[in-house]
Amino acid sequence: MLPLMRNDRWLVIAAVILGVVLIVISIVYFAEPAKSLPSFFPGHQAGSSHHHTKHGIAALLLGIACLVFAWFRSAPKKSPPAPA
């Protein structure tokens, strides 16, 4: 039981970090034109003033999904009802 709980904790931490990173990435996509995106970002294009809104929405959705997953996964375990 204990190792499983440890794994759960790491999973929650990873999901929270990933969720926050994805939300930050989505904000970058919304705020910056394609020319100003970091070169390792999908959609980076020198000289383009196009905003990759769809990439931003996709990253935002994934980020929220990660945070929701962490929310459920970190819920306190309910103990089974005592036998009558």
């Binding site: 769809k54 990439h55 929405i57 959705l61 999904a65 929701v68 929310w71 459920f72 970190s74 306190p76």
Partner: protein, 290 residues
């Protein structure tokens, strides 16, 4: 003026009626929106801004009809989602919460693939010839779904209880991802989702219900995302026709969803498979020789 002449009001109404039917019947709305204007000799450019703007309006109308048709279900589902978030878990007997999260999980892959690939696939396969071939392949997919469907025991009397017990998380992802096939003109989104549902053991009625519930946020979000086009300069000269098309689409979509929910209580995808195969092959031959 030129734009208005490209989609006249009668054409807009015909395209709207076709859109409302083909979006919900498993026979590909996108494919029909490519093939029918070409067959009728209408000079409509599939990727022109005015036509895409017109399609936004008809899609939005279809999504509103679906939302209205399943309104009570959506209210229960949203309440279930809220309950599960509050309790930080899904109670074993909370069917609405389980169904709600299955819809969320199924919508994520379809939404992301749609956001990233929609325009690319549409540009790549926008020719009537390609759409005809994919329509025939859609027929093959529907045949295969009937052939390979898993018949699981249907023990619960409530539709949503059956769906939430039969469909697991990975299967919801699978059905959601299958929906993305609908991004290719000729393949049907609802057909792919129903095929996925049948493959995972749902009955025809439950597969159709799950497909329609999954479709509502996808179609609605895709239309809302492009709604500024309709309000902006791209909508100039086509707004009236878009409204007429949207009303026609809403009318035919309502009749379609009513019909299909009754139809799938007892019948199968086979007639749609035959239609897609026959229409796809016939249109392919026509476009090859013309």
């Amino acid at each position: 003026m030129i734009l208005a002449s490209l989609i006249s009001y009668p054409r807009a109404i015909i395209l709207g009626l076709v859109q409302g039917v083909t979006e919900l019947f498993p026979i590909s709305s996108l494919g029909h929106s490519v093939i029918i204007p070409s067959l009728l000799g209408w000079n409509i450019h599939q990727n022109a801004d005015y036509f895409l703007t017109f399609l936004v309006a008809t899609h939005l109308a279809t999504a509103i009809v679906l939302l209205g048709f399943f309104w009570r279900d959506w209210v229960r589902i949203v309440k279930g989602l809220g309950r599960s978030l509050r309790d930080r878990g899904i109670a074993p007997d909370d069917t609405d919460a389980k169904l709600g999260w299955l819809l969320v999980v199924g919508t994520i892959p379809a939404g992301i693939l749609g956001l990233l690939l929609q325009d690319k696939l549409r540009t790549l396969f926008d020719s009537p010839r390609a759409a005809s071939i994919f329509l025939a392949l859609n027929g093959v997919m529907l045949f295969a779904a009937e052939r390979m469907r898993r018949r699981a025991p249907q023990t619960d009397s409530d539709d949503d209880t059956r769906i939430s017990r039969q469909v697991g998380w990975s299967q919801a992802v699978g059905v959601g991802a299958a929906q993305s096939l609908g991004l290719i003109p000729g393949f049907s989104r609802s057909g792919a989702a129903m095929s996925g549902g049948l493959f995972f053991g749902l009955s025809h009625k439950d597969a159709a219900r799950f497909a329609f519930l999954l479709a509502t946020p996808i179609i609605g979000a895709a239309a809302l995302l492009k709604l500024p086009q309709l309000a902006g300069t791209q909508g100039n000269g086509v707004r009236g026709q878009a409204l007429a098309g949207a009303l026609a689409a809403a009318f035919s979509a309502y009749l379609s969803v009513r019909f299909l929910m009754r139809y799938f209580e007892t019948k199968t995808l086979i007639p749609f498979a035959i239609y897609c195969l026959a229409a796809g092959i016939a249109a392919s031959i026509y476009f090859a020789v013309s």
